[in-house]
Symmetry: C2
Subunit: 432 residues, 2 copies
Amino acid sequence: MKVVEYPKREEWASLLERPGMDTKTLESTVTAIMKDVGERGDAALREYALKYDKAELGDLAVSEAEFAEAEAAVPKELQNAIGQAKANIEKFHALPATEPQKIETTPGVFCWRRQLPIEKVGIYVPAGSAPLFSTVLMLAIPARIAGCREIVMCSPANSDGKIDPTTLYAARLCGVTKVFKIGGAQAVAAMTFGTESVPRVYKIFGPGNQYVTEAKMQATRFGVAIDMPAGPSEVAVIADDSCVPEFVAADLLSQAEHGPDSQVVLAATSREVIENVMSEIERQVAELPRRETAETALGNSNAFLVSGIGDAVELMNEYAAEHLIIATENAEDVAEQITNAGSIFIGNYSCESAGDYASGTNHTLPTNGYARALSGVSTASFLKSVTYQQLTAEGIRNLGPAIETMAGAERLEAHKRAISVRLAALGGGDGV
Amino acid sequence: MKVVEYPKREEWASLLERPGMDTKTLESTVTAIMKDVGERGDAALREYALKYDKAELGDLAVSEAEFAEAEAAVPKELQNAIGQAKANIEKFHALPATEPQKIETTPGVFCWRRQLPIEKVGIYVPAGSAPLFSTVLMLAIPARIAGCREIVMCSPANSDGKIDPTTLYAARLCGVTKVFKIGGAQAVAAMTFGTESVPRVYKIFGPGNQYVTEAKMQATRFGVAIDMPAGPSEVAVIADDSCVPEFVAADLLSQAEHGPDSQVVLAATSREVIENVMSEIERQVAELPRRETAETALGNSNAFLVSGIGDAVELMNEYAAEHLIIATENAEDVAEQITNAGSIFIGNYSCESAGDYASGTNHTLPTNGYARALSGVSTASFLKSVTYQQLTAEGIRNLGPAIETMAGAERLEAHKRAISVRLAALGGGDGV
């Protein structure tokens, strides 16, 4: 990590800049895949599986026999750990038991709102360097709680034509309705357009590489919603003398191991903290299997020495981290001052790993500064809100004239007349 | 309108298809504008104002003097109507007074969620054929309620270099912090990148033509969130013999006058209703100033004769209308069966105009079938949700082993070690 002491405010923006992603080069590749899958369906998907996953596939859907085989392959200890995580995620993602509240905004004008499940959703679960079954929990559990009728999942097969057993076990456990052996941009294309095997869905969730992300961006041009644009994962830590440098180092490394483009940021209030964290990183990184990845990521990362917690807070509000760990005195008070972050971890025992797997919060969070405007995935991400209104004769009498005036001023005569014909029909009487 | 009697289910999808939008041709124009404004800032904006709006602009920002002049130009009756609408919109968009609830998912593991305002938001208000000041109310009121610190608005100037006075009056009334005389894709570009005059924002709201929509789609590639992809406006009506054909016709026309690409759909349970609505349309359309526009829109629209309310409901769930009017017996029960719609208007006195202006619900709604997955704008659209967690020593002891097991199974060793170092530090003791 590069140490930057007392960065000047006018330099913050450039110091906090994320590594840029050049999507132009892959845009046309993804456009071609989207078109091809849209036109040729399953046949195209089988060809891409052979080309990219080296898998020769018959059925694209995972069979009952494969699910049973997967369950048998997952060790009991892991099943129990997943069970504990699932229970916590369910508790945190439970739907509030609120009834729609009718609001009478003007006498005779009733308005209300209901949340309805998105009927068909798609979940993409990357495989690649490691099976990311925790993604299944984080997406399928809230989808199930929301009441989505169809929960489609796609994940690439390995060269034996199989999906990782823990991923399948988690899918079945969490209520995924259909699983397909499809990876990359072609999976997003399949769920966007539908194919002979794969149902078209209305919203697509899940992380992935740059091709998957680009495909999700393109899917929004075909009437499909997405959870959020995904970028490389990031963690930021605010630390003062009360932090445990060994813990801080472990947290920074747990993010750095994700990929060479992962970003970690440290804002510390003393030179000593930075020095101690740095020497702990040096000690711990040597033992990591993904040492090289972590070292590359750290090479692109900064440790900032700041003059106090106030500055650290402002710096982090400017950065808008996906994960923010607060390892300071009065950590909860500091957390209250944060205006931009995806998820906040308070105090020395609240490490990012907890939220990544099992504490109950969701790990699908806004990266790349999107935490300024977007929320992480929650049960609400699988619901949509519909508004309702009912006007009585009294309501249209009370509100109609104002609507006529406004519609007239916007020169929308037919909008005005929709009121006028009703007021005229009511005449002086009471109407229906 | 074309009448389709008892459409076969396998034909629904094609019968309900929206007119396609070809965005390819304008994509490169918008890309060039985005790049130009990003690079040259205010100078580029002034050139575009001259080119597209025929306005020679000095200051891009609206001055205090201009706001005062605008207020004086808005008739008292219109001010009162706007005031009545504002009060209703505020009532419906009020924030629920809920305190964040801490959930103890496992003993010692506390998780909670808070909603925070998006600090900087941008609102685009189109002008063109008519001043759409109602858009200001629908976007600025919830932004203000959410607590957004900076509410930037852009709207094109006319050839005198002015923005419509009612639009300015509404902006000031509803708490917009800065108003700029910028229209089209260049307004979206200005709010995406920021210029000498215009602040960069984190989320952009508002309707517009295809250039504005394309610019919003492109803005999402530069770290800016948008409210939703906007398409041509639509209304659908479910009607049975209890409907008032005169009202139904007026409602269909109020949508059809929006633009030649507007869509209206009628699903009626009797041939008589269709015939009566059609002859009412013929009578009413003759009186409309926007007769030609409405007739073009109606020409692309269908009236479906269905065998009963059940079929009408299914057809409309397939269509997923932006606005759905239910003019039937037991309209509220019918509304309960709708799974896909932006906003639902229940009964003969609940016309779309009410929701467009003044009942209290928001008129910024998902078009083009997006109601399957997206919600209309609400106060929540101006908030983001941040999750928090705090683990005690007991918490990490209780949950740590499960996290270690899962991280190990995902082959993320550093994630596992972030737990292990804490468990080791705790040893058998109680820790901090």
